[in-house]
């Protein structure tokens, strides 16, 4: 496919989003906003222990409480085979998923669900939870990733024998899998190096911290069919998981995605959804379950905490000759951390002949990790980008020039193997270097840092339907939950393809029964892949409209073109006809063949990799160790921005999350392995007064596989900030911080030790 080079009418503009009005007036319906007649309240009892055998659960008193309509435990959850399925996301094991939504025999983390109730009021549901007696045998626990790898660590799963090691171990451990990536010969590479820098790093687990807690409303009918309303990044994925967990036919479950109040990867799996369905099935009434913020922190999401070691060798002219890394990622209570992409991304931005990366996927007594923006990449790239900065400083080279010298370009073999196609990494570096920010003066205790980031971006299955309404306006439906303004992008691409006004397109997110399968909103895939389905469906409409005009004029369809929103004769030979608008053709649709509609389903391949380069100025308070971000600029190759303002918004939001990861955010546990900071007061995401404006520079190196040149946008911007901030702090105080978050106590300790 070639990239259309003509000037666009809508692509790259920023029209008001079609769903915006409802979101500024409070009318938009999010997960917890649906109420059904006779609806019960569902609540979940959670383990207070990090690791414990569940010897027995007595629910009899809860069941006897007036107003309680259903109680479930793992006895109500069918046992599933251990079966890894390509979930597209982190790989998924259905047995583990079943055990995560309801602990089976063993509670594996503080917050692990052990029972659930449905009652006629929230107060009765709470009282019922208090009446459930669980007899726990508390076991030793382990949370730190390196401690979990030790030979004498408490073992979470007696049947876990490390994958990827030959011969396969016979002793169970917490290491689920080892991953290896190797290109060239690192030993030979290091032998050629004039300078070798190696460092160890630690990063804390951080939560996606979407503002909207998980919520689900389930309604089961007597005939076994069910409806589910929930806030999710992928209602088709929810349907698949829930059908499997409840032993249902997929056709019997219809899932509607509510408006979603943030997800960032954390709403790509299920927690409450199958539980609400099971409660509804048992009670015979609709059930709504909503997590508290405490439950969100303890039982859903975060990303891995990790320990990393990175070694990079360069020659005196700045050529990187070898890169090596060892990465250890927490998976949480069940196997499946983002170690694989973490390993693949570590050195991906650079053209290096000799690379070796070893990764470990390690279970620990913590909630199972969920995807978080570019899963795995921020951790490994933080370590590598910190070492690259240190090398630049030791060589006395400008850090952007060092990156330019080694940057992957079109035709470079990525460190994970294949050649890159058209990529814009070097363009982001050039734009960053030319930005006024990069040469602005700095004051005392201030420093500037730079770092880059890489993410694959993905495509995948998407569907779209277009219906031409009787008046010529369009109803556009996709199956992609709109997490950050994607309906606006879909309307833009449909309007651009058909040459009509963007306000004539009304985009919605349709439920699972209304159109073809659509994989979840994640992997920076929606504007790329679902956009391709929208363009495809719009092109089918254009063809159909030409056919209708041809019938109207009684000429051949080949003699009709569709241009600027009008059917026109292809040339003088085609005849002399007044062009027809969509409204004209829609009005006559019944005379020319009936309603005009189209559908497109596809599996979009050929996603374009994304790169970003960030610049940050910080000031370090030598008295308190507090780090203030003074100025921030994020440059990113987006291929082609469809809705410019929401592309900027993705970059700004990702950068802000990365700054939080760098400076404030972490899971803190007490000595019993209980999460100590499960609230927004104590788990501190950046607030408005913590941040400066975040300048964005959108570089557009079109992705040749997309009709408008789209790459993904949403994930890349969370990758560079941690190293950008660390490199800026190092520039300010001359101390390399290797542990995240770089919170005031840690910075102060470093200042005290350093001076």
């Amino acid at each position: 496919m070639t990239v259309e080079s003509k000037k666009y009418k809508w692509v790259g503009t920023s029209p008001v989003r079609p769903d915006g009005n409802d979101k500024v007036t409070g009318r938009a319906k999010f997960g917890a906003d649906l109420m059904l007649p006779g609806m019960l309240t569902g609540k979940v009892l959670r383990s207070p222990h990090a690791h414990a055998n569940i010897k027995s659960i007595d629910t009899s008193k809860a069941e006897a409480l007036p107003g309680v309509k259903a109680v479930i435990t793992s006895a109500d959850v069918a046992e599933l085979e251990s079966e890894w399925v390509p979930a597209g996301e982190l790989q998924l094991n259905f047995r583990d998923l079943a055990h995560n939504i309801m602990a089976n025999g063993k509670a594996l983390y503080d917050g692990h669900a052990v029972a659930a109730v449905a009652a006629t009021s929230a107060a009765i549901a709470d009282a019922a939870l208090d009446l459930i007696k669980v007899d726990y045998e508390v076991l030793p626990h382990v949370i730190d990733v390196e401690e979990a790898m030790e030979a004498d660590a408490p073992v979470l799963h007696a049947d876990m024998f490390t994958d990827g090691v030959t011969p396969k171990p016979t002793k169970a451990s917490n290491i689920f899998k080892e991953v290896d990536i190797a290109v060239g010969d690192v030993e030979a590479g290091f032998a050629k190096a004039d300078l070798v820098v190696e460092r160890s790093f630690k990063t804390a687990p951080v939560h996606q911290a979407y503002l909207e807690p998980h919520a689900a409303v389930a309604s089961f009918s007597e005939d076994g069919q069910a409806e589910l309303w929930c806030c999710t990044q992928g209602h088709f994925v929810v349907r698949a998981y829930c059908a499997k967990l409840l032993g249902m036919d997929i056709a019997d479950l219809r899932v509607t995605a509510s408006e979603i109040g943030g997800g960032f990867g954390g709403k790509t799996t299920v927690y409450l959804e199958p539980v609400a369905l099971m409660l509804s099935r048992k009670a015979g009434k609709p059930v709504r379950a909503v997590m508290t913020r405490d439950e969100v922190f303890r039982a859903s999401g975060p990303t891995s905490g990790a320990a990393s070691w990175v070694k990079v060798g360069v020659t005196n002219d700045g050529t990187i000759v070898a890169g090596e890394a060892i990465l250890k990622y927490q998976a949480g209570a069940f196997a499946g951390s983002p170690i694989q992409p973490g390993c693949m991304c570590a050195f991906a931005p650079y053209d290096i002949e000799n690379v070796k990366v070893k990764g470990y996927d390690v279970v620990t007594n913590r909630s199972k990790v969920a995807a978080y923006r570019a899963p795995g990449a921020p951790i490994s790239e933080h370590a590598v980008e910190s070492v690259i900065d240190e090398i630049a400083k030791k060589l006395g080279m400008d850090p952007i020039e060092l990156r330019e010298k080694n940057a992957a370009r079109e035709g470079t073999n990525a460190a994970y193997g294949p050649k890159f196609g058209v990529i814009g990494f070097a363009d982001t570096l050039a734009a960053a270097k030319a930005h006024p920010h990069y040469s602005a003066p700095l004051g005392p205790n201030q420093g500037r840092g730079v770092a880059s980031g890489f993410w694959f971006n993905i495509g995948g299955s998407s569907s779209a339907t277009v219906n031409v309404n009787e008046d010529g306006t369009l109803a556009l439906a996709t199956g992609s939950p709109d997490i950050g303004g994607s309906r606006a992008s879909m309307a833009i691409m449909a309007a651009e393809t058909l040459g009509i006004e963007v306000t004539d397109v009304r985009p919605i997110v349709a439920d699972t029964a209304s159109l073809g399968y659509t994989f979840l909103t994640g992997g920076s895939r929606v504007t790329f892949a679902t956009g391709m389905a929208v363009i495809e469906a719009s092109k089918k409409i254009a063809l159909e409209l030409r056919e209708r005009a041809a019938k109207t004029w009684d000429i051949s369809v080949d003699a009709v073109i569709w241009e600027d929103g009008l059917a026109k004769p292809a040339g003088a030979n085609a005849g002399d006809f007044e062009p027809l608008t969509l409204a004209d053709l829609a009005a006559k649709a019944n005379q020319t063949g009936g309603p005009i509609s189209s559908a497109a389903s596809l599996n979009a391949e050929g996603a374009g990799p994304g790169f970003g380069t960030h610049i940050c100025d910080v000031e370090v308070d030598p008295e308190t160790g507090a780090v203030k971000v003074l100025r921030y600029t994020a440059v990113q190759d987006c291929g082609q921005a469809i809705h410019k303002a929401y592309v900027e918004g993705q970059i700004q939001g990702g950068a802000a999350q990365g700054i939080g990861w760098a400076l404030n955010e972490e899971y803190i546990y007490d000595e019993k392995g209980r999460l100590d900071n499960a609230s927004f007061l104590d788990y501190r995401i950046p607030v408005a007064s913590d941040l400066p404006m975040i300048d964005t520079v959108i570089v557009e190196v079109a992705n040749p596989t997309h009709p408008y040149g789209v790459r993904g946008v949403g994930e890349v911007p969370i990758i560079p900030p941690m190293a950008t901030v660390a490199n800026a702090i190092d520039s300010a105080i001359g101390i390399r911080l290797t542990e995240l978050p770089m919170s005031p106590p840690r910075v102060l300790a470093a200042l005290d030790n350093g001076s």
Partner: protein, 82 residues
């Protein structure tokens, strides 16, 4: 003959540590069949877990994609995202 590169994991588990091959196959389906014939068990594993990059373009669910005689085909793990 196309140049085929397996991950080191696949190579170690099924191909005695070898990761590079020259194989004649017109599409991914036939390539995987050839690999399965040589290294029993590798086919299902590829179908379950692997994407391929053909001359730099990544396909997450490969099957019918054409392979040219001078193509470079890398197997790599499927990628998700947040």
């Amino acid at each position: 003959m196309a140049r085929i590169i397996l991950t080191s994991g696949l190579g170690n588990q099924y191909a005695g540590g070898q990761t590079e091959f020259e194989i004649e196959a017109v599409d991914v389906r036939r390539l995987v069949a050839v690999l399965e014939e040589r290294f029993p068990g590798i086919g299902p594993e590829i179908n379950r877990e692997m994407a391929v990059a053909i001359d730099g373009l990544i396909y997450q669910d490969p099957f019918l994609e054409r392979i040219e005689s001078d193509s470079e085909v890398y197997f790599l793990p499927r990628i998700g995202g947040g």
